[in-house]
Structure formats: C-alpha cells, structure tokens
C-alpha cells in the first residue's frame, strides 16, 4: 500500500520517437486509477515505466515517497498482471504463485499460507496442481491475479488484463477485480483501451492522447464535463455528436446558442440528451432521415442523416421507439445538454 507519484515523466525511445511527453500524476493510497486512450497513446509505456520494465528518460516516479527511477522491477515491490497472463507454462499454478515469493526468500510456511489464502480468495484452490495450459482463459486470469496478490505488493499494475477474454467473462472479471481491489485496498494502476471498462472500474480516470494526459477526474465528471474534444469523443458510447456552431445558427430555436461562451466553435451534444419531443427550455430543432436503427435492448441507437447540416446525428432513444428506418424524424438539441468547445485549441469553454 502506497502512494504513487509521477513528476514530469517523459519517455523517448533511442530512435528519437517520443512516447510519453511529460506526465504529472499523483495517485493516492488505495486508489484505482485507470489509464485509458487509443492505441499508441503511451498508456502502456507509462505503466511499464512505473513497473520498471522501461527506462525513464526524464522526470521521476516515486512509490511510497521513494524515487524508484533506477530500481529494478523486483525492488519496486509492485506486481503486474499482463494481457496474455504471462504464466510460466512449465510450472503448476502453485509454482506460478510461489515463484516470486521464493525468489525473495520468503519462509516456507509463510509462502504456503499466502498461496492458500490467495487461492481461496480467487477460488482457484482446486487447480493449484494443474499446469496453466489445462486452465480456461478466465482461470488463467485468476492465476495471474493470484500471482500479483500473494506478493502483497505496494501497487498492482494491470496491463489490459481482460482483453483476451470473451465479453461475458470480461464483465465478470471486471467486477471481481473491482471487488478484490476494494477488499485489499491496494493502490492500482489499470491500463485499458476499453472506455466502458475504464468508466466502471476507475476511482479516477486518466484519459491519454499522443503521450499526454488530456484529462484526469472521476469517470462521471469526465463524462459530464469533458475538457477537450478528444475526451468528448473518447468517453461515452456511442460518442458525442459534434456540431459546427455556424451550421446550427440558421435552424429553428438557434437562439439557444446565445448563452454559449464567446469563441465557441463546436457544440457537443451527448446522444442520450437529444430529445425526440420538444422539451422544456430552449432547444434547437433538427429534421432528418433515419438511416440505421441499432436496437441494443433497453435502448436503441438511431443514426439520423440531417440534410440541412449535412451530418449524421446519433441519438440514443430509451425503450421501444416504434420508428422505422428511412422514415423522417424531428428531434431537438436541448440547451442544457450543450458542451461548448473552441475549434482551434479543442478545449472546453466554461
């Protein structure tokens, strides 16, 4: 259990390619922070730098107040869960769990007790004497987590641990990771590209783009007030609708735009705040043809082509809509749901 401190962390590869351009991040004791972003945004590199698997070009990383820049991974007292589990194939599950403890000279009875406890928590006791290849994907994932928790490390580092599982198992394991992390109270950093996983797991969410942090905050804060166009497009599924403000000015109800701060170039509206009937308060009216309906179950995703502004608008409609494809649809963008962005900087205004 420990705090994690990243100060001005940069990574430049020998070829001159910069993967991480100066990241500052403080992680509190027991917090679960999720790093999320598209492929190549530097989130995995950052995690591997915390783990000690990549060198740090500039800046410092401290674990529990100690600068660990020059320490080997094993000396940092962290545990990592890898995407492909990285279980030792020739060792039994027990061997896998024990290996790290043996290497640091933990006494035998202590090892046995810790392995038994981890196995009990993760419900892998029946498999302790099997080889990893005799286990299913979900079981392997548990063993990989077991290997992390037997060490009782200062921090857990998860590198996309669920992306090799099928959707159902992923949902289950996500809940288990969350529960486990809460029970153990171990500081954790979790890397994923799946924004749903990120939203549901995180105490705090770090959205990264091109080696920089775009925004840090509670998941719901990021959803409600994305700080930039990138975050707006990345968090939330389906993604936010973005309109150029000039295209909206000539539409009925355009006076709703007047309250937006000066310099607003782009207006974002979440698909689930688009209204299918005139709502209270000012709103802009749009009309379009329904191109596609994706019934997801409790809700439907409508893709509506609006000739007037030459754009496809995504709408999340609750319940059964009774709408059909190719039919015309009127809908309203309520002022309360506007997210104003500057067009040049991509930053949120107000």
């Amino acid at each position: 259990m420990a705090t994690l401190d990243l100060k001005g962390v940069k990574k430049t590869y020998p070829g001159g390619v910069a993967a991480v351009h100066g990241v500052d991040l403080e992680i509190a004791d027991g917090e679960l922070v999720v790093l999320v972003g598209p492929s190549g945004c530097g989130k995995s590199t950052l995690l591997r730098m915390i783990a000690g698997l990549e060198s740090i070009t500039e800046g410092t990383i401290s674990i529990a107040g100690d600068v660990v820049n020059r320490k080997e991974p094993a000396e940092r007292d962290i545990a990592m869960v890898f995407q492909n589990y990285a279980l030792y194939p020739h060792m039994s599950v027990r061997g896998n769990l024990e290996y790290g403890l043996k290497n640091r000279g933990t006494p035998r009875e202590d090892i046995d007790q810790r392995v038994a406890e981890a196995a009990r928590i993760l419900e892998i006791t029946p498999f302790l004497d099997r080889k990893p290849r005799q286990l299913s994907g979900g079981q392997r994932q548990r063993v990989a987590m077991g290997r992390a928790i037997v060490r009782k490390p200062k921090a857990f580092l998860f590198d996309e641990p669920l992306s090799n599982l099928d959707a159902k198992l992923r949902g289950q394991m996500r809940i288990e990771i969350r529960r486990l992390q809460r029970t153990l109270g171990t500081t954790s950093v979790y890397v994923t590209h799946d924004q749903l996983e990120a939203m549901t797991l995180a105490d705090r969410l770090v959205v990264m783009n091109a080696g920089r942090i775009e925004q840090v905050g509670k998941p719901i804060e990021l959803y409600d007030r994305p700080a930039s166009l990138f975050v707006a497009g990345f968090i939330g599924s389906p993604p936010m609708n973005l309109f150029e403000i000039d295209k909206l000015r000539s539409l009925p109800g355009a006076e709703a735009l007047q309250t937006l701060p000066a310099g607003t170039g782009i207006v974002g509206v979440r698909p689930d705040t688009v209204a299918l009937s005139q709502a209270n308060g000012p709103s802009i009216k749009l009309t379009g043809t329904i191109e596609l309906i994706e019934p997801v179950g409790g809700e439907s995703h409508l893709y509506v082509r609006c000739e007037g502004i030459n754009q496809i608008v995504t709408i999340v409609a609750q319940g059964r809509t009774g709408l059909t494809e190719t039919s015309m649809l009127d809908f309203w963008l309520p002022q309360a749901g506007f997210h104003p962005f500057n067009i040049e900087t991509g930053k949120r205004l107000a």
Binding site: E72, A74, R147
Partner: protein, 282 residues
C-alpha cells in the same frame, strides 16, 4: 482427406513398403552375415538365413577384436565413440543455448555482428576447414586425445540458430513477469528458459549425438593411437586388411554393434524428440 480409393491405397503402401525394404534389407544382410562362420562367404554369395556363430562372432569382436587389422576390441572403440559423441552433443547444446540466450535477451555492442559471425560459420563445416583445424589441433598437442576428437566439432551455428528461433517465440511478457518476480538473468535462464527448452534440447541431443557418432573423417585424421580409435573409422580398418579377404562375418558384427547406440538413443528419446520437433510447449 477422407478418400476411399483402393488402388491409391495399394499404390501408396507399395511405395512405402519398397522404401522400407531398401532401407532394412542391407541391415538384415549385415546381421545375417554376422551370424556365420568365416568360410561361408567364399562362394561370393552372401547367405540369407541366420548361421550358428552369432555368439562367437560378437564375443570375439567385443573382447579381442581383429588384431591382424590393427584394430582394438570393439568395446573400446565404442567407448571412444560414446565419449566423443556425448562430448560433442552436450558441448554443442551447452554452448549454443548460452550464446542464443545472449543474442536474444541481451543488448550489447556488436550483437548483430556476433549473430552473423555465428551464422556465417554454417558455411564452414569441419570438412571444409579440415586442414587448418588439424593444424591448430596438432599445434595445441591435442592429437590422440578425447579433447582433440570432440572440441573442434563443438562450435555449432545450427544449434545456436535453432535455440535463437525458439527463444524468439517465447513471449517477452514471460521475461518481464520473471523480472517483476525478482528473477535475475541467471534465474530466468535456469528456472524458465531451460525447462521450456526441454523438448528442443532432447531433439537436438538426438540429432547431435548421431552426428558425433558417425564422424569418420575427423577421427581418422587426429587419431593414430588405436587407444583412441572410434568405431566408425575402426570398421573401415577392419574391412581393409592387406593380403587376405576381409573377415566379413566379424566386420558385420562390428557394423551391427556400431548401429546400436544411435538406435537406442532414438528409441529412448523418441517421445521427447517428436515433441521437440512438432510442438513448442508454451
């Protein structure tokens, strides 16, 4: 490919049977010859059915050998061959697995150069560099010694290359997990890489043992003392006697004995050998 064409089945089986006969018949002939007395070959037609002298012939070859041909007892030559083949096989595996480990897992200056230097030696097998190698071995005073027999044949680009290819297929995460688990380079090699390479080592051992066992030219050059004769070169000496017909029954007994160890190695390591060739345990 479930097909039922009787003629094709027949044809393929014929081809296979002919192949087996071509391989097995000479061995059979050698074995039959080794069971006869020395007089049975004078007619010029080798016998096709077993004779009564099996035990006599083998006993004579194993214990006293053919002193007239200047060859020591077969058991001694077989021991020499065994020492040479084992040293070569174990030495080659030990050296090449370590060099492959260095090339794959460590970044050091001229790493690529080192790899290509090793790779280039593939072009220079013993037979090509035999004169200079002989000169070096002679100058080092290693003629007529086990060291002289085995050491020049130990360096192996093939085995290094094979291990390199295998190591490249081992996921990097395994090494990283081991680092996080506190395993240094030696521990990682011993605890993880070596056990994973088990089947590859077994397969290579079979191939390299046989390679060492069948060496002919090199032992012929570096040994002049019968104490160090190996079985494969010894057979040639048995057959090339001056002023009389070779004692084919005894020569063939030596041939059969020479064949045994490779066969045994293959039989006992077959399971691992096949595993090593077809699957990688990951």
């Amino acid at each position: 490919m479930v097909e039922n064409r009787p003629f094709l089945t027949f044809l393929t089986h014929m081809v296979l049977i002919v192949g087996v006969v071509v391989v097995v018949f000479p061995v059979y002939l050698a074995f039959i010859a080794s069971t006869h007395g020395s007089g049975d070959f004078l007619s010029g037609v080798p016998p096709l059915l077993p004779g009564p002298h099996l035990i006599d012939n083998y006993y004579k070859m194993l214990t006293t050998g053919l002193s007239s041909a200047g060859a020591p007892p077969v058991w001694m030559m077989m021991m020499n061959s065994l020492v040479m083949a084992l040293t070569i096989a174990v030495g080659k595996i030990a050296i090449s697995i370590i060099s492959a480990y260095a090339i794959v897992y460590f970044k050091f200056p001229f790493r690529l150069l080192a790899f290509w230097a090793i790779f280039l030696t593939l072009m220079l097998p013993v037979e090509v560099r035999i004169i200079p190698t002989f000169k070096v071995v002679a100058d080092l005073g290693m003629l007529n010694s086990y060291a002289g027999l085995a050491i020049p044949l130990i360096a192996s680009a093939t085995a290094t290359f094979l291990f390199r290819q295998f190591f490249l297929t081992v996921p990097d995460e395994l090494m990283e997990a081991a680092r996080v688990d506190g395993a240094g380079p030696i521990k990682f090699f011993r605890d993880i890489l070596l056990p994973l390479s088990r089947t590859n080592i077994a397969a290579l051992f079979v191939i390299l043992f046989i390679y060492g066992w069948v060496q002919y030219l090199w032992p012929l050059l570096v040994t002049t003392d019968p104490k160090y004769y190996t079985i494969v070169m010894g057979i040639k000496r048995l057959a090339a006697v001056a002023d009389s017909d070779p004692l084919w029954n005894l020569v063939m007994a030596a041939v059969i004995l020479a064949m045994l160890p490779p066969v045994l190695v293959v039989i006992f390591m077959q399971r691992l050998f096949v595993k090593g060739l077809v699957e990688t345990e990951k």
